[in-house]
């Protein structure tokens, strides 16, 4: 397991301490982040680029547009405009900082294309080879964007041998804020993330499906859409424990009970508990689950493992790492196929502008070091 030993900083204080220490040496940084409505948009960059040090401090801001027309008209919401101005003001005080804005179109013809267009954010090694460290801040990025983005960067870094490029992921978690963000429309069907799909081939027709779903709040509609698109012999639900709210797991079972407990492919024994603040534990648990099922189902010819994340971004990273690593082994393991299936949200809104400042006090920065020096 590539991430059996890992680097994870859980709280804002620990993260800042880590970066203060890390940036004592000269580092060329590229900070990739989403420029969206989310009030956490600038929390990470201000914390890390606010630390003095030598080397490049470049920024790549991803701007989202719902259509080609919206992009051409450069339609900007008030929140995005505010974050844009704040960022420009902040970067004015940062030395050696260049900024690039990459626009991506997230929808076309009433469907999400985010996971396809997200591969264009970093189009090749030339974009990142000039840096020692790439920091991807996923706080204001939807899953349909950051999973393919991390997939692309990790694949490029893994194939690059001339120098070491470190890949860090940062995310600002805030459970109060999460509860105030509401989806405004979801896609009509569940789809695989581009690049992390399972294709229905003649040669894997008889493989049995296993569905691993990490459950979270307010995702029943998405869960139902994924559920109707899979045909598993076994469904495994991952619930948060330990968690700040010790009853969170039970509450989630209540929330999903109609669609979970009535399916014969689900067994109570298939519930997996994972620390809600440790993506690497989720990674390990998913890897073990995959291996166990793949051994059991060998007799049927093979296994297709479908992973769906309906929970926090932090845990999504764990799921992504497990899928990424397993996917790499597909060339040698012909009896195992894996992919991430999800349902994109069309747009979101933040409800709670009036007590925003109070809510933002609960921000906690997390840092995961995914590739580079520690893993040599």
């Amino acid at each position: 397991m590539r991430w059996k030993n890992y680097v994870l900083n859980k709280k804002s204080k620990d993260c800042v301490n880590f970066w203060q220490d890390y940036l004592k040496n000269s580092r060329d940084l590229l900070y990739i982040h989403g420029l969206g409505f989310d009030p956490r948009t600038l929390n990470g960059i201000k914390s890390i680029y606010g630390i003095e040090g030598s080397g490049k401090r470049d920024v790549l801001s991803v701007r989202y547009f719902q259509s080609q027309e919206e992009k051409e008209a450069n339609i900007t919401t008030n929140e995005v405009q505010y974050h844009e101005e704040e960022l420009e003001k902040f970067l004015g005080s940062v030395n050696k900082s260049n900024r690039e804005i990459v626009p991506i179109i997230t929808r076309a013809e009433q469907k999400s294309i985010a996971s396809i267009t997200a591969h264009g954010i970093v189009d090749g090694i030339s974009k990142i080879s000039g840096y020692t460290d790439i920091i991807v801040d996923i706080s204001a990025m939807p899953r349909g964007v950051f999973i393919p983005l991390l997939h692309k960067i990790l694949k490029i870094i893994d194939g690059y041998t001339i120098s070491t490029i470190n890949l860090h992921v940062v995310v600002t978690e805030n459970y109060i804020l999460d509860s105030r963000i509401e989806d405004e429309g979801v896609e009509q069907s569940a789809e695989f993330i581009h690049g992390l799909s399972i294709h229905e081939l003649a040669i894997n027709q008889k493989f049995k499906e296993v569905w691993i779903a990490i459950l979270g709040e307010k995702q029943l509609e998405q869960y139902e859409k994924i559920r109707s698109s899979v045909n598993p012999v076994s469904t495994c639900a991952i619930l948060p424990f330990p968690s700040k709210n010790l009853r969170r797991g039970d509450e989630l079972i209540n929330h999903y009970q109609d669609k979970l407990l009535n399916d014969s492919d689900f067994d109570i024994k298939n519930i997996i508990y994972a620390d809600e603040q440790n993506p690497f534990q989720v990674y390990r648990l998913i890897r073990n689950t995959i291996e166990r099922h793949s051994q059991s189902l060998k007799i049927f010819g093979g296994t297709k493992v479908i992973v769906s994340v309906l929970s926090s971004k932090l845990l999504t990273i764990g799921a992504f790492l497990a899928v990424y690593e397993t996917k790499l082994s597909e060339d040698t393991r012909k009896d195992l196929r894996i992919g991430i299936k999800h349902v994109d949200s069309i747009s979101h809104k933040f409800v709670g502008e009036e007590d925003k400042e109070e809510i933002l006090k609960s921000n906690e920065l997390f840092h995961m070091w995914i590739a580079g020096d520690p893993y040599k």
Partner: protein, 646 residues
Amino acid sequence: MRIDINPFFSRPSETIGADDKFIQLFSPDVLDIFDEKKPLWDIVNIIRSSPGGGKTTLLRLFTPDILLRIKNKQKDEQHLIEIYKKLKMLGIYDDKDNPLLIATHIPFTNEYSTLEYLKINDAAKSHLFFSLLNTRIILSVLYSFCKIKDLDFPEDLDKLIINQNPAMTGYNPLRNINNGKEIYDWCCENEEKICSDIDNITLTDNHEVDKRIELYALHLFYQKNMIYNGHPVTEKILVMLDDVHNLSQNQRGSLMKNIIDRRPSVNVWIAERLQALSMEEIISEGNIVNRDFVLVNLEQFWSKGNKFQKFAGSVAEKRLSTIAEGESTNLSSYLSETIDKDYVEVAKKHTQVIKERLNSNFNKKKYSKWIETKENFVGNEIETLVEWKRLEILIYRDHGNSQQVLQFEDFLDENSLDHQDGSDIENAARLFLHEEFKLPYYYGIDKISRLSSSNIEQFLNISGKLFEAISTNQLKKISQSKNLSVSITPKKQDQLIKKLTDEKWKEMDIRVPSSTQIKIFLDNIGLFCREHTYTPNAWNSPGINGIAITMQERDVLKDKAIKDTKHTLHQLAKTIAVCISYNLLDFRLNYKVQGKEVMILYLNRIYCAKYGLPLNNGKFKVRKLNDFRNFLNKGNAYINNNTLDL
């Protein structure tokens, strides 16, 4: 009865034999969509519905595994006999029960539409799309062929020879191969190559797939060209393309053109959601008359007569049979239609309230005979209450008429009462009592089926919620007393329906794009219908739940407004299209009334409960487009002029 499983929420699973469970739950009524008057074979069939309409379930019935299971089990299992008979009538089995159909089900997933947005040139996108589709069709037909012929797949494909007719199949990569197994091997290799190209995150324009942009696979399997054991294959070949809505507009257009223009040598069925249609097509839907294909809209098929009620009843019965363990499998037996006792107690008071109103508002002499008839009515308290409400409606009606024609206050006899009273009035009376005295209205199997708006997924959802209460009663019966009834009362049913309606309304925020705008539009329609339903004389009895525009005005939406983003009605056209594609509004086209043709937009019945509207089809009001546009604005003042009562 088992109470650990809700059969309306459970999904057939592979672990317990998906095919067997599928057959067990399949209701043969759906096969009635294949109208005897419409050709089924040698023409393209296009099946459309909203999500959850039952398209995939229908297509799956024709796949080899299911057909063979039905063949092998129909003599032993009672529930298969009807399916078998209907399939035989469609020419699916011969006299010896052998399937006469080699059908293959090909679902379109996003791997096809992904091609449209890759950074490669348009020609490369088309090559990859058609190459993958041709390959999938070939592999799939070969698999079905082996299943039907009871051959080992793929080893026995050696026994199949496919001789191409170049005039039909043209120049294609398989032109020099005629052995079934070799064709299979080539396709497997090609399929893997294309899929890895699609997933290749650094794909360029240079790829090695064939450059055909035609569906040669649909001509490859011409029966006479397929030689098995030295003889041409006699079974019909059917290619069922499912979820075509998942394709991009370009791909779908190109696919449809390829299929319809070139008249394939095999049978082709296409299933798609209304969402697949462009905005223009959605508004134009239903108007297409074509000799090259047959169009079937599932929801519209079910909405005629009581077909859906029958179908839903049969689906519920099959679901309940999986958990009944000897108890009733009839859902209606668990949905009591006897009004709860606590309403009986207050019904007398309510009757008195109505009597007093009649006394104080109207000329007692004129209506004395009518009132006397009701005084002599023999029935229970609830029935009596309904009778008095009916009378109040009729008196209001008569009173209004008399004033309009300046009639003298004549004496009205019993016959004139019978003449005016009808089932619509009774329905309206019950609805009004629900509104005024909270008497349950949304209960009973008939209303539950109607609430489903001819959508089977919606029916399962509603039934699932009701079943939770049924299983709670079952638990009480087991733990407390055997004498307790398992069925749920009308009051409980009504409450659960209202709760579900509220949940569905809230869910719209998540489910539907631009939900704020859509909700305002629906809200205004709902309130408008409500205003025209709750008139004291119930002139539109039992009430209205739809609005309409003339077909000429609908042409303005379809030909101008939807295409021009600056058109004053563009937003309206877009909103209607979204409502139709998300099954929030149900439409009827070319409905003839009073010498005019109209397009009716009915509210999805689940939302009728939100506004206290009746669930029947029929009553609607025709409005002008500009009035429709006002429905997009919050706090709309409903326009009462220019209304044509229909």
